[in-house]
Amino acid sequence: MEYTTVIGLEVHVQLLTKSKLFCGCENLFNPDNPNVQTCPVCLGLPGALPVMNREAFRLSLKTSLALNLQIAQSSKWDRKQYYYPDLPKAYQISQYDLPYSSEGCVEITVPSTGKTRRVGLFRAHLEEDAGKNIHDESGRGGDSQVDLNRCGTPLLEIVSKPDIRSAEEARVFLEELRLLLWYIEVSDCNMQEGSLRCDANVNLHVQHNGETVATPIVEIKNLNSFRGVEAALEYEIRQQAKKFEADPEGYRIGKVPKATHGWNADRGVTFEQRGKEEAADYRYFPDPDLCPVTVSDDEIAEIRATLCEFPASRRHRYVSKLGLSDDVAGVIIDQGRRYADYFEAVASECGDGKQAANWMTQDVQRELNERKVEITEFSIPAAVLGTLLKQIVAGEITVKSGREVFIVLLTEGDDGSELETSRVNEIIAEKGLKVEQDTGKIESIIDTVVTRNEKAAEDVRAGKLQAVGPLIGQVMRELKGADASAVRQMIIDRLTK
């Protein structure tokens, strides 16, 4: 069976504001203290009036610029009516026919094909989030609990075009979108906390008896992990192919109503949800409590100036300019903007991107994991680590000595010292770790060691090169800082030439 997979995603992103979208209640993930962040506005009490949060709108504009979306000069807010316990007003303030931005795109690189694809975006609009329902899991039909802390917090809805062609592409699109929004600091994109949520629409365009026929569109709701998105779509694609093969005349778009499915991650299956009211039944109309918002070119230019370099461009630069592999560049980018900033500062200080990347992904990462802290809390400043690596790159100290200095720096930093770059050379001097560049001195130490170890020297002369090990060890102990492979070569030359 030959078919093309057609997927469109609807992504909801919570914005990083201090207060909610229309009231001054705190915008904070706080599940342990339910219903402590509410007021008459977000509880939908009669007579309460919403006032738009300027920062939420600014973050929305910033997002649109990053997603290449066109920004409307003027947009308005509408009421979307539906009944659900987490929505006390019985309507959600959203944007219907005049969203603040439309027509954009995100570029993705798909690992399995290595190809770059452009996924179009229909629109992004700003709306308020609902509260959270907690269902009784006992199966005895107990009451559901409603927490309205989240109710009325700012939420961006980003709707892609049906340009996505596989479950893998859907995952990559979502990963790239998350990275981008995280880097420009409009959202923390924390999927565990629900800051980033995704619905997917999927169907197949099947080649059947010389014509292209489409299977019914299925919407999968509430996908809250990257793996979930990919797995749910793979499952749904297989199901649709099976259903079409079983009934090629009946299982077609228009003949079967659009279905809404949930995803059960534990069992790895999608399941049918009760049909929601049709779009027309939301009875959208302009919210009379809110007036339109207009945007000037100057404001857009001002916000554009606050954008940082995007992760995709950084990743590319790490490969093309700093010589990192795609994988290593990806690992660094995925750790977030602050981590990437730190890496870049280290790389520029020491002048060697690969060396900096090695230390970041091994030594630094290990210490961060052990301490369970973020790079912003790491006790060695980037300039100090850069200075240390510079000594290694210049051959002034060995990598092994570098690790020794690193541990000293870390201990001092963890103890609360404000580390200065000058501390690096102080430690190197204190510990006598500078690589001995004076070959005359090295040769005289080799002479002493060889005289002390006639037996080993004899073995080396006889061609038993493994006997050189203990000799290197003794020379290195005398020298402290030296390049072991150079010393090895000098000993062999001294004994065999």
Binding site: V36, V51, R54, R283
Partner: protein
């Protein structure tokens, strides 16, 4: 003449979670039909040259700074709830077949 069918009234009632008797449906179909007819007087105006308004008042950009204000104590937030456990609003089980 604008007509509102009993079916229209039944649908609107169901969307508004209102339970109406057959007699009430007849009654409201007539009443609401009358209201609609009255509003349709506006159709006589030619508005083809007029820019649609998004809001009845010609103002825009009423925004507030992103500052927090104190929220209600939980006790007050839950005060009018039909049912609560002291921490959450309680509602009859929401059906979501899993």
């Amino acid at each position: 003449m604008v007509e509102l069918s009993n079916e229209d009234v039944r649908k609107v009632a169901s969307l508004a979670r209102l339970k109406l008797s057959d007699a009430e449906i007849e009654h409201f179909a007539q009443q609401l039909g009358g209201v609609l007819q009255y509003v349709h007087v506006l159709d006589e105006l030619d508005v083809s040259d007029i820019e649609p308004m998004a809001h009845a008042v010609d103002i825009s950009n009423v925004l507030r700074d992103d500052e927090t204000t104190p929220s209600l104590p939980r006790e007050d937030a839950l005060a009018n709830a039909p049912k609560t456990d002291g921490r959450y609003f309680l509602v009859p089980q929401i059906l979501e077949n899993a």
